[in-house]
Chain length 403, copies 2
């Protein structure tokens, strides 16, 4: 007997027909003798529908009441799935945030799960019961409903896997796994069978948003095996474990990218301690997400140039904040708002010499100019002109034997 | 300062615009220094939408999960109204069934409210807070969500008025009160300013379904003053109290009717004790609702004729059951499935001689044949041919000075 968390995302439960189908997936697990906790998202579109109701009342809608409102989305799916299961003669019950309870701390709409009670549900599982739990929510110490921020239902699923000590957490979604690059853009993209948490994080924070990063982080921290798989096919998905459990045959696991970036360079900044902090503090305060940061010492050795990227929608606000910043002194600011980031990701990179050179050579062969470079243990990212994005992904995918 | 329950039905909260309007109504009460508990229904159409989701899974959907599903309807309205109120700078909070909690007993989808905790909400009211409570639901002793059957949100409102000992319970709806007869059929129908619980019950169980009967019964039992009024006009509604508080100027308060009736007469039934019980027991078991029952001693004094009415949709089933009933002996059964019931209702009837004669004379003047008669303290009902329904209501409305 394996104890499993199965998490079903919004498209997986997007219609009655699909909810019936999810019930069949669970039925199969039960017939195999497995013990199942199902975590469900709101039906696709439902959360936006509820959010729009609140926005029509006020764009500054009360945060406590917003959580009361939004939590109904997953509650509806939970009731429907539990009902569909009992209709298949499976002992099933929905367990709402306050019935378990799932305790959270932090602010409304951005809470974190800190604990949950396991006894009742564990007893129910022992009676071959399927517990259906709404994702994305919990209650606060004062009894208010909270919704959890980053990670949503994925975070709930991983937290349940951790606290209930299940053997695995399976994330059912509308794609059948993590790919070596975006299969919609590059048809030769291949599904990755096994991947490490780190690689998954590098891939998911870029292009391939199959699973929320914070949920992967939690899984990594507690070493919870994950599997991302499709609700709509029977194929195997992508398994995500610790790096040690993977036998790397290739240096690079995948090619990721992000679009809609823009690059800002501040030329001739005085090179002294604290300058980067002074530069980025007001951007952080304005909640502008700074991605890559590269600093070079300039030729005169007294000043330096700092390059960083932000989302394109933030570029005007960013430059405005930089210009108003009295704490920094510089010669000029240049910007390029038509750039993209392409990254090769692979835990095998560190043990394979020449990966860096191979990447630069491949891009040079395609006459693609590199505007900035940034590296980490398992990732190598370059900023290029946006127009070169498809070409560079294709080339890198081929060069690193991913086709 | 008056402590009030304000209950808003489905059409009153049927859109965002209407929810804002309801918030304004509550704002006015708060400005007048009143203390308000608001009880809300699901937005018009919402409960059916949810019910259809469950029916698409199964027509025999799990009852526990159905309650989990349906309860989201009122939860959504509660969050939206509380949010709309805080947006008007009013201290407001939604309180869900389990947060109060509202304790119920009985079966799923047909539970009864037995108690609720008052301390927290009373403290909140003292801080000029508006408590917004979803109607139609509660929790069971085992922590399951329940929905309450007959009476729905009206029953919640009256139970809250009783347990919180409020001064009044105001039922906001889409009509502006209780009328002397159906204003859609008889344009001269007049709004009744004051009415007794008994009269309200007689009227609401017939044509004028402004408020659920079981909620009126509870209000009568605990002597809770009610007012039925329109959400969409500023006019006074209809006040409902104990009979002693009303100064009757007219013998008749209103004319009610019910359509889609059918009449069955069993001729020549042996006249001995227990015959009626033997006759109606199997009908009761089959959940057929028998309305009027009239028994006359027939000329031979050994047999009798029994006439009763049932809803038209039940007539075939009823006759089938009668024919299979081995416990009764009779000559024959006749039926008329094109009849209607017209009733005059009034607590003043009992002290006014000649009301009965006046009614029969009025119908005779219109050449309307009376097929059966039944009377109670405050009601006089006749069964007539369906085609005469409009004529008879008009005539009785005029004759009893209600125009």
């Amino acid at each position: 007997m394996i104890k499993k968390v199965l998490k079903f995302g919004g498209t997986s439960v997007g219609s009655i027909e699909r909810i019936r189908h999810v019930a069949k997936i669970i039925e199969k697990e039960i017939k195999q003798g497995n013990s199942v906790i199902a975590v469900v998202s709101a039906m696709a579109g439902k959360t936006n529908e509820l959010l729009n109701l609140s926005k029509n009342i006020s764009t500054d809608f009360n945060k406590r009441e917003l959580d009361v409102l939004l939590s109904t989305g997953e509650q509806i799916t939970s009731a429907l799935l539990a009902g569909a299961l009992t209709n298949l003669n499976i002992n099933a019950k929905s367990w709402l945030n306050w019935q378990i309870p799932i305790l959270t701390e932090g602010e409304h709409s951005n809470a974190r799960i800190i604990n949950m009670h396991v006894e009742q549900i564990n007893n129910f599982l022992k009676q071959k019961g399927v517990a259906v739990i709404p994702g994305f929510q919990g209650i606060m110490r004062n009894g208010d409903i909270s919704t959890i921020g980053r990670g949503g239902s994925d975070a709930t699923a991983v937290a349940i896997a951790k606290i209930f000590q299940t053997d695995i957490c399976e994330i059912y979604t509308d794609v059948d796994g993590v790919y070596s690059t975006d299969p919609n853009k590059i048809p030769v993209a291949k599904k990755i069978e096994k991947i490490s948490y780190d690689e998954m994080l590098e891939l998911s924070s870029l292009g391939a948003k199959v699973m929320q990063s914070s949920a992967v982080q939690t899984a990594m921290m507690y070493n919870i095996p994950l599997e991302v798989k499709s609700t709509f096919t029977n194929r195997d998905g992508t398994q995500i474990f610790e790096q040690e459990n993977i036998d790397y045959k290739k240096s690079v696991t995948g090619v990721a990218y992000s679009k809609d970036d823009s690059k800002i360079t501040i030329i001739g900044v005085e090179d002294k301690p604290g300058v980067a902090a002074n530069l980025f503090e007001p951007l952080n305060n304005a909640q502008i997400n700074v991605d890559m940061v590269i600093q070079n010492i300039s030729s005169d050795q007294k000043t330096t140039d700092i390059t960083f990227t932000v989302k394109r929608e933030d570029i005007l606000k960013t430059i405005d904040i930089l210009k108003k910043n009295k704490k920094i002194d510089y010669k000029k600011i240049t910007k390029n708002d038509k750039v993209a980031k392409v990254s090769i990701v692979g835990a095998g990179m560190v043990s394979t010499p020449g990966v860096t050179y191979k990447m630069f050579k491949a891009l040079a062969d395609e006459k693609i100019n590199i505007l900035a470079i940034s590296t980490s243990e398992i990732k190598l990212s370059v900023i290029i002109d946006e127009k070169n994005i498809l070409n560079s992904i294709k080339k890198l995918h081929t060069v690193f034997d991913l086709d």
